[in-house]
């Protein structure tokens, strides 16, 4: 057992809040789970040595911080700094039918709702997910009542500024026929260990436009996940952006729990020198007539490592499913490494599914084309590599987020040497 995990379990055993019963159950699973070694398939390419011997560190004081400004974004802003919710949710001026509140501010009915949702949309019980189940003292409940069309984005920012352990949680319920846009965003480069998980129960005919940007860098260690359960004819459009850091792992689970649900997920990751980013996606089609389209593209620089594991699981009853998963990667250097594994598991006989993964270097023909137009080789390489992910970024529906993201990615890319 790792020292860090032992300490997490000890401190979690002492917590008591309205979630105590569900936390207790998760704690028991955690105690049995043990520390995942390299033989554990889910962590095979993602070493955990930097966390294993870590000592748990609580934040003594958190500095006041604003979320990074995004021009033109109209949002309800929520911010966690070093794991502490520093926003006053009472000041949000929310429309009727919308609840956004910290776990410790919920009334009895809301507590019951969170208790019944907590851990229910998150199928993978890996150690860090369980750690978050038992240790996320700071959490937010987002509840959109049936039929509500929320005009502003709800933005949840996680900032890490110092060497602490931080565990945050979002539990969201999008009511029948409602629609919302939710943006989970993490930044920071301080040596730290954070987990951030979010669960979304999306009702029948509801729509969620979702963003998860895991943009921590440097010595930050972050493990997180966004998990979705889709009702009948509901739609999800999710965009994931991943940077690398000392340890950066993100899980995305989408469960088609209703018929005719439609999920789209685009992911881009851009890893600079020596960084690691691990994206695990898992799509569960349990009901008929669902559709999934997943596109993940990554650029991996010198000595950086990317791990992509994309699983689509078509259950026996999920007839007429259409599912596609595509992972494409570009290596900027022979010293970079990409482990990609698309998995398709099909138990229904009337489905259309496809998956593919590529790891490639730059297309010589496209490079030649740009050069014949007088564009210098170094600039042409940047255009081609960046164009590869820009294609997905251009599909981001919220223009303010897209316009904010593109130059950030471009700047990051400019620091990466094409060899």
């Amino acid at each position: 057992m790792s020292q860090w995990l032992t300490e997490v379990i000890e401190s979690a055993s002492a917590t008591s809040d309205f979630l105590a019963p569900v936390r207790k159950k998760a704690l028991s699973s955690l105690e049995q789970a043990g520390w995942p070694g390299r033989r554990n398939e889910a962590w095979r390419f993602t070493p955990l040595t930097s966390v294993e011997k870590r000592t748990v560190k609580a934040a003594a004081e958190v500095p006041a911080q604003d979320a990074p400004a995004i021009d033109g974004l109209s949002a309800y802003e929520l911010i966690f700094v070093d794991g502490q919710l520093t926003s006053d949710t009472a000041q949000l001026d929310l429309p009727a039918g919308v609840t956004v509140a910290a776990f410790d501010k919920l009334d009895a009915t809301q507590q019951d709702a969170v208790s019944s949702l907590y851990g229910q949309v998150k199928p993978q019980r890996h150690v860090f997910g369980l750690v978050n189940d038992v240790a996320s003292a700071q959490g937010i409940f987002i509840d959109i009542a049936p039929g509500i069309k929320l005009d502003k984005v709800i933005r949840v920012t996680n900032l890490v500024t110092q060497d602490v352990d931080a565990h945050t949680r979002v539990v969201a319920r999008i009511g029948e026929g409602a629609s919302a846009r939710i943006f989970e965003h993490a930044e920071g480069q301080a040596s730290s260990m954070s987990t951030a998980f979010a669960e979304y129960a999306i009702g029948d005919n509801a729509h969620l436009e979702h963003y998860r940007f895991a943009m921590m860098t440097g010595a930050a260690k972050q493990v997180g996940g966004s998990h979705f359960k889709l009702g009948n004819a509901s739609t999800l459009n999710s965009t994931v952006v991943g940077y690398g850091s000392e340890l950066s792992r993100l899980d995305v689970d989408i469960i088609h729990a209703g018929e005719y649900a439609d999920a789209k997920m685009n992911a881009v990751y851009l890893l600079a020198e020596g960084e690691l980013f691990d994206l695990h996606s898992n799509i569960e089609h349990t009901m008929p007539n669902g559709t999934t389209e997943e596109n993940a593209r990554g650029i991996v620089g010198d000595r950086a490592r990317a791990v992509f594991n994309g699983r689509i699981h078509i259950h026996r009853d999920a007839q007429k499913t259409l599912a596609e998963l595509n992972n494409r990667n570009l290596l900027l250097s022979r010293r970079g490494l990409i482990n990609t594994k698309p998995e398709l598991e099909i138990y229904a006989d009337d489905v259309k599914c496809a998956h593919g993964a590529t790891v490639a270097e730059i297309d010589d023909e496209a490079l030649f084309y740009l050069l014949t137009r007088g564009i210098p080789r170094s600039k042409a390489l940047v255009m081609l590599n960046f164009g590869f992910i820009q294609e997905l970024v251009n599909q981001i529906p919220e223009t303010s987020i897209r316009d904010w993201l593109l130059p950030k990615l471009s700047e990051r890319f400019a620091t990466m040497e094409v060899k």
């Binding site: 050069l371 137009r373 007088g374």
Partner: protein, 253 residues
């Protein structure tokens, strides 16, 4: 403008160009015709510097400078333009972004002031209109999802924007209907200013109805075997390449 002397070039050790001589003066339009496999496209690739096309012998000068000694992008910056027979699709890189980089890279090299985004947009819109491409093509990925005709018109639009000294059109007529052919030809003709030169590589005479060449050359087995004026193209149209011998008649058939 361009002097090619005794050019020999090969692809994967197979000799394709075998002693080609050609001289083009400023303002001239030279058509190069020839049967399949004669080396027409290879000539365009060799002149533009594509990897894998090895020059084993000969010299090529553009305005007195050794073209073969330059990198691909330097050749473009020196004023050489190749309109591709099969332009590549580059998703994610917008036509606009690509062309702005291209125009300014060439202007920078030639010591001219760089175009601002607004000035570039103005020129790009005019060029788009000239080749009858809708303006939204500027926002789309380079050649992404364009039809064959749209790709060719996009090539001509690039040529108009880049104002090259020597443009090589590699079978720009292939796959075009008459209307698109007219647009491509009008684009080329609009650039004929008495100084700019063109090499029009074509398999058929019909493009030359619209772009009147000053000279026509027949390329066969890696060298120019016959040269003449525009009437030579008419002769090819009428009798094919029979004058080259039985081997080429069969190849064409």
């Amino acid at each position: 403008m361009l002097k090619i002397k005794n050019l020999h070039a090969s692809v994967e050790d197979k000799a394709i160009i075998k002693g080609l001589d050609l001289e083009i003066n400023p303002g001239e339009v030279h058509a190069i015709m020839g049967p399949n496999g004669a080396g027409k496209s290879t000539l365009g690739y060799v002149l533009s510097g594509r990897d894998g096309y090895e020059v084993s012998e000969g010299q090529v000068e553009l305005e007195g400078n050794d073209l073969l000694d330059m990198e691909v992008e330097e050749r473009a910056q020196a004023g050489l333009f190749l309109a591709f027979q099969y332009p590549v699709e580059i998703p994610g890189v917008s036509n606009m972004e690509f062309m702005k980089e291209s125009v300014n890279a060439i202007r920078e090299q030639q010591g001219e002031e760089l175009l601002t985004a607004a000035d570039f947009l103005k020129k790009a819109k005019a060029a788009c209109k000239q080749v009858q491409l809708p303006l939204d093509f500027l926002k789309r990925g380079v050649n992404e999802g364009f039809s064959g005709g749209e790709k060719k018109r996009n090539e001509i639009m690039q040529m108009i924007l880049l104002e090259p000294k020597l443009a090589i059109l590699d079978e720009s007529d292939s796959g075009l209907d008459v209307d698109a052919l007219q647009v491509v030809a009008d684009g080329v003709n609009s650039q004929r200013d008495g100084k700019r030169s063109f090499i029009v590589v074509t398999h058929y005479q019909r493009l030359l109805d619209y772009i009147k060449p000053d000279f026509v050359h027949i390329l066969a087995d890696g060298k120019i075997v016959k040269s003449g004026d525009a009437s030579l193209a008419m002769e090819v149209e009428k009798s094919g390449y029979s004058f080259l011998g039985k081997k080429y008649e069969e190849a064409e058939a």
